[in-house]
Symmetry: C2
Subunit: 330 residues, 2 copies
Amino acid sequence: MKKTAPTLRDVAAASNVSIATVSKYINGTQRFSSKVEAAIDAAIAGLGYKSNPLAKSMITGRTDTIGLSVLDITNPHFSSILKGAQRVANDHGLSVLVVDTEENPNRERRVLEDLSRRVDGMIVASRLPEKDMGWMADIDKPLVFFGSLAELPLPTVASDDHGGAFMLTQHLRMLGHKRIAYLGFSKSRRDEERLGGIRECLGAAGLPLVVFNADSPSMLEGERLCSSIILGANPPDALICYNDLMALGFMKEAASLGVSVPRDISVVGFDNIPYGKYVTPALTTVDLQSERMGASAMEKLLAVIRGEDVDKLTKIAPQLVLRASTQPRT
Amino acid sequence: MKKTAPTLRDVAAASNVSIATVSKYINGTQRFSSKVEAAIDAAIAGLGYKSNPLAKSMITGRTDTIGLSVLDITNPHFSSILKGAQRVANDHGLSVLVVDTEENPNRERRVLEDLSRRVDGMIVASRLPEKDMGWMADIDKPLVFFGSLAELPLPTVASDDHGGAFMLTQHLRMLGHKRIAYLGFSKSRRDEERLGGIRECLGAAGLPLVVFNADSPSMLEGERLCSSIILGANPPDALICYNDLMALGFMKEAASLGVSVPRDISVVGFDNIPYGKYVTPALTTVDLQSERMGASAMEKLLAVIRGEDVDKLTKIAPQLVLRASTQPRT
DNA sequence: CTGTTAGCGCTTTCAA
DNA sequence: TTGAAAGCGCTAACAG
């Protein structure tokens, strides 16, 4: 509506003080005589002045914005992470700039280097193998990474995927399952950790593991691979899916193929997305605490920004959630 | 790693040309002799120079960032909107700054006024009644709004909620349902439109409508209200839910109460979230094309930013999606 | 083709 | 308590 938004200068003029005075007063850097402060307040109100955050940022070097890079925002795991991160950011007066790399590792570098110039720090979920991530440590901005890193000196927040997988497998073993299969997603770094946990548990029991692999961590892939898993010669009596989405897809397709979950096959997943509770049968899963992970990552990042020392790795304990998709064998 | 990031000045010095030349070359505003261009390229590479977008923004007034305000990012309707918006933004080299107002209308104004200073334009979903939205039109930034507006001169993108609701109701009528109920969410502006569509259809047939109301558009609310809906004296034989989330919650609870969907009661929702297809029975719904809405809103906003004339209202046609949660009465 | 010169709106010494 | 002045890193006329 106004031609040009009012600037500090306008406020200064209107209140008959210097521009520096207004700046300091607004930022609470300094107090002034009540006369002056009142005049400034009046001018601000009168002009409808709003500070220009860009100009401020250029000087202070702070943008009050945190970047968050996720692999697919429609995946409930990531929208929960965003929720948690967002909440903490809000509590500190910060905004969140989200980028969705759409499961495309090639985009990541450009996108993140770009992002790094517009934010005070970033939180990133990546599909890159650690050896292709060197550049991340060179980005000159505080960064918190999801997942554990062997070499790279980056602070991280990770769920205990190995432990969670072990737990899940143990649960299946105790239920009496003997032919366990894993429907994995090898492009993910977490896949091998989960596989490791499963193998460790199964190895101790001398049980074999059949592994399938999906091209994307989606319901559609769960559906697509279902028939090849359950209509083979020696089908598994329990299936561990890389995530809940795949498990949901699998269960739906199994039902239409006339295979009953959990009677014919027990199914489990990872993440504990809300929808797992609403399908039939409800899905047994490992709660990786997505929202809390997002919040923890943000808190950690803020600590880094403040210059505090933080642990390299924040581990978040997973929790097994038992539901009807798993059933004892007799 | 470096003390101070290299600036344009450093590049200019290193390549023995003026700072203006470098600026123009980088922005492709102008071409120079290959000698000069080569020198600049070398200097940039050597120093690892990256343009400071903040400084640039301050001058150009453009941030290359679009703000998107949603009511709850974990609601698949909104994460799909974000997905669509994000995709279009990316195609144009823009970022998306997301804010989640958490279904809290009181936060909206502050959050949006704040956001408006950091972006080139914004797309907003709001729970505010139109009469409390006047300030939005005063924000001095291009803005596209979700939903239709009677008075406010804001460009909008809306699904045809009235039409969608009519469709859905018509479908139920043709299936032979006589006792139709609506589980609404009156805080939403779209609620009345849907209610209107339902009423119009039912009125024509001389059928009554019972209305229930939820406090939040969530699965939990669907669950919570289920018993009071189906265990009353004269329970409905069909229920239209404000959205799919509520329908999912309702169906789960109905099952545990021993009421069968669709045998005892048909259930339908709005949005066509992906999960509706994976529950049992699969949910009949109206596809509001969330992702496309996000994309359309972004496209429209970009047009506004470019200064083009745009229609006030972009209407997106809903599509009925028939699944097993609705069944003919006999 | 290339360079000079003003600033953008704000913060921040440093003086008064 | 206040203000003057020097920029932050960059773009945009305007000259040459």
